[in-house]
Symmetry: D3
Subunit: 241 residues, 6 copies
């Protein structure tokens, strides 16, 4: 039995609110239960030095948590003067995940920065960030088309992310914080709508994990990603009206 009363294959209640940040070229407030992340996409005309004069663009991500998004206050990274290893790991993952589903030549020599800021944290913030960042990125590309900066909408494959875990010996989908802190294993799956693998990260907490348990988590993740992709599509369609 899960602490939240959810079935093993049940996502938390998900909502996606595109256009939440009016200044940004693209944005989405994603809520996965009590995990709320504000994702924005900012288009810049400059690319990093290694891409200058190549005709290719870049997508990168930054991640942060508001100090009191967590149950106990987390130190502010700006005040400590550096980003933690965890933060860097997460923002590198978000960036790689989104770069994997778009052709970097399709939107010109521009950089799109995806900022994922956690307003409220209850587990699964990196997965929510990826799922929301896809919507923000999609909007920013539409903005480039509307602004006549690029002639047509680039091909971008829908991508989302979800966590799975082994909790009390059973594979469960979409861990919240109480589950996450007790789980025997923890995995994050970044996949396309059609089930293509973009990133998988599996960590056994105490004891190594069997191949069968991994397979069970993988299957749950596929069904969760399908649902998330459907919600992304719905949100983008609604916001385009």
């Amino acid at each position: 039995m899960r602490p939240s009363g959810r079935r093993p294959d049940q996502l938390r209640e998900i909502s996606l609110e595109p256009g939440f940040a009016p200044h940004a070229e693209g944005s989405c407030l994603i809520r996965c239960g009590n995990t709320h992340v504000l994702c924005t996409a900012s288009v810049q005309e400059r690319v990093p030095p290694f891409l200058r004069n190549t005709g290719r663009g870049w997508v990168t991500a930054e991640y942060g948590m508001l100090p009191r998004s967590t149950d106990r206050r987390t130190d502010r990274e700006a005040a400590r003067g550096k980003q933690s290893g965890r933060t860097q790991e997460i923002q590198r993952l978000i960036g790689r995940s989104l770069r994997a589903v778009i052709d970097l030549e399709s939107f010109g020599e521009r950089q799109i920065i995806l900022d994922c800021d956690v307003l409220r944290a209850d587990g699964g913030t990196r997965c929510a960030s990826i799922t929301g960042a896809y919507v923000a990125l999609h909007q920013a590309l539409q903005w480039l088309v509307r602004s006549e900066e690029i002639p047509a909408m680039p091909r971008i494959e829908p991508v989302a992310a979800i966590s799975c875990g082994i909790f009390n010996g059973e594979a469960v989908l979409d861990l919240d914080y109480p589950e996450d802190s007790e789980a025997e294993a923890d995995a994050n799956f970044v996949m396309t709508r059609s089930g293509g693998i973009v990133e998988i990260q599996v960590t056994a907490e105490e004891d190594p994990l069997s191949g069968d348990d991994f397979a069970r988590m993988h299957a749950l993740a596929r069904s969760g990603i399908e649902e998330l992709a459907r919600l992304q599509q719905q949100a983008l369609t609604a916001s385009a009206i």
Copy 2:
């Protein structure tokens, strides 16, 4: 004529939403027109070294802006590895303002950290932070009473802050960003409900300011603060029900 069409003595639309951050001991989302700041109050049992074993507590503040709270993306301070001079100046001001209205011995040897994070910026973020932080601090003190950590609610004097400026030669209240960037002078008033001065910061942008212009801004500020104090009181009363 103000760009927003407001009268010279007219505040933007203000809303205060106490309890917005469920993890925090106190919190308030303040919206002043398109300036939105999330203020939280976190109670910690440790005080800074210089107060250990003195029986006195401390109130301090930290301030930040989400990168895309602004029209053009602002660099993330955590990524740059340090807080700007502006950020430090603002968070020092918030801390001083709230310390001035409470007896630091009244809540024991504890530290209360006020985090003011700007979700959307349209001028006046430091004033909104102070006005919202008062509500969050008030809630945190009530939480200490409810938790039986302190026997009775400490005396805290209501404090709020508002900007004034000289815009097109006229004194106006509560500048938004388009006014702020064009104003001839800019002032922030931190005052108690009864008009006591806690902090005043005046800056002439191009030419020095006359004493009369200062007096006009001061008068506007008094009326604005009264209105803000009324809204604070209303919000705290509503949230206590």
Copy 3:
């Protein structure tokens, strides 16, 4: 009665020594009682990136204290690896104050850096810095004329700064350290010779301040600034001979 025996409206003994730093384009050693600040003005041919190719110049300031300028040794900021919030606040104030009295297009696309280094501290170092920096800046502009870099002396309005406070219930001018640490309120006035307001910063230490007390401090400040402006003029005239 003031600890120093001064009358409420009496400045400390002030001396201004222009040209103290022979390498600098402009300089002034200012002594306000036991507060001694060395101010230098350095002319650089490069401006910050946001001003390149605009034809405008820039004036900025840096502030520091020698570790043993204070009664107890203060940690060296270079050794700690960062400037404190207080230091940044002060140097931003000095920069804004001097930029307010000069037309930034009048001396070409150059940067003038005002370094204010406290050799001995007894309260009022930020005010002394501004008063001395004006003299250094004036000399640097004269140097630009003498060097035939600019055709004529730019118009610069004399500016000075002085602190006031409420000490034992009475408004007093030009606080020294023993007064400053006991004052009920503390204000810094940056004003032109003719009484125009450039910056005002008021802080109530324990209890909010009444409007009347503020008015008394403002009046004291005006008379103090007049005296300082007279001494600046005198020093510049003497050094020009």
Copy 4:
């Protein structure tokens, strides 16, 4: 055909040299083809603050590359003043991997630091680090027993790591740098000798990866890990004589 001429399931030539660093409590120089990593284990009597007085120990890792371990010189992180996101990600992975195979209460309130320094890099440095660090950690535990600090050798499960990839459409084991930079997908498997999963990290470089390709890599990894575990055992036995 692989650039090195190896079969798809063929490891590079591996050598493990335990005791390479005479000062350290445990050490191993691991060579995987032209990737050479010096792993040392240092026993310290202090644990991080969160473990004080818990009776539990800690295992952590640090990772670095000599500047000219790479084909083109890599900037020295000590000179740049911070560790890159990649470095932090790798050292966090090494630490988690080794903590997963040992009971942290079994060696008392001590910290064991695993330093993995790359002397020569040709792909797969994080995997080589984990495989070598296991040997160094094993030696350090033996040292604790010999020094009579702990009564008996703690149970530690052999763990090793290997990369796999999809290269020219085929799953291959143990990528060297030329393969790594061309691979369509890249995965790192950290597993126990018996095939238990400790960590898996999969990244699709250009296009998402199919589940079948993942399964093929997983199978290759299992055979590679078995061989590495055999070599670890052999090296530890030889060094114990």
Copy 5:
């Protein structure tokens, strides 16, 4: 012929002004021609961690230059966020030199920090710092005796420092900046009054230096140090009256 017209064995005009910094336990403003350094000695009751409970004290030094002590403005190290390699090298040298002439057990478990701040620079700042710091340290020890913190004046051997160089093929004493920047070799001698060697640092600028040239510089240094020691003695005697 030297640019300054001095004889090869002639020091610049030297003045030592003990007690220049009234807050400090010991201080000395040393002027060597146009090189002016303010040296202060601060007594602290805390020692560095490695000396706690050993009964031994410590002497350490910090060095800095005012930004406009130099002909062209030098960046402020506090603003850049770190001390340069040159600064660290110099302050380490000053600390070692003074520790070498005093028994660290003779003044109890205290730390004496020697701050050497260059107000004006014309070559030879590290030597002037050592020569002045000796006077400041001597005063601080006398202060400890006067304050009855220690029973008797510790034995401290007079130490001073002077530069020599090979300029236009000739050995010369006490280089000023124009000589220093043209010299073929540059040496700093830290010696006791009786000629004992505390530190020597020799650097050949373009071509290696012969043993004979070194011997000539060494002889000049001995005579220079004798003169400096006499001036130190004189200044301490005068200040004690």
Copy 6:
């Protein structure tokens, strides 16, 4: 009697292994007893800003120690976020020493970075670094000739370094760590094969050093340097075959 049983004028066993780092343009693993340093020379086409468009090149050095090169683990500088004063002092010395023996115009507008990384430390790491870096630099220059980047091998004067000390009252050559930590004085001599002085650094540990003791160390150093220069020559000849 020396702890190692060596005669006063006896070097440790020295080996020089040129070409140890296959990626680098030049490299040398130097072993002086149990002090092992890997020196590499990296040629870069960019020079520091102050040399752009001057036609002159630059030679610079960086120094580091593996954390467990020492008997007790040394903190990793990259993790602490800065290089120690000692590290900076050493790498500046290495850079100066090598720049002194080569004409910086002879290899074009290029920078050669000498990385000296200590794999095992037993005293004398800075001297070993210089001796080994000479070999690496020599190889890099040969590489430039072979690559037809420069027409002919530049003139470079052989340079090496050795420590001497006063141990138990006697002058001894090439201190190992046990001697170094007990020595009354410690000196590092950087000299050319023909005895020209490039750098000398002498430090008296407890008591000042006499001129005679210095002379004895100098004489030992000359003979040691001759031997080192012979070994450098031998190694370069062997590697060229």
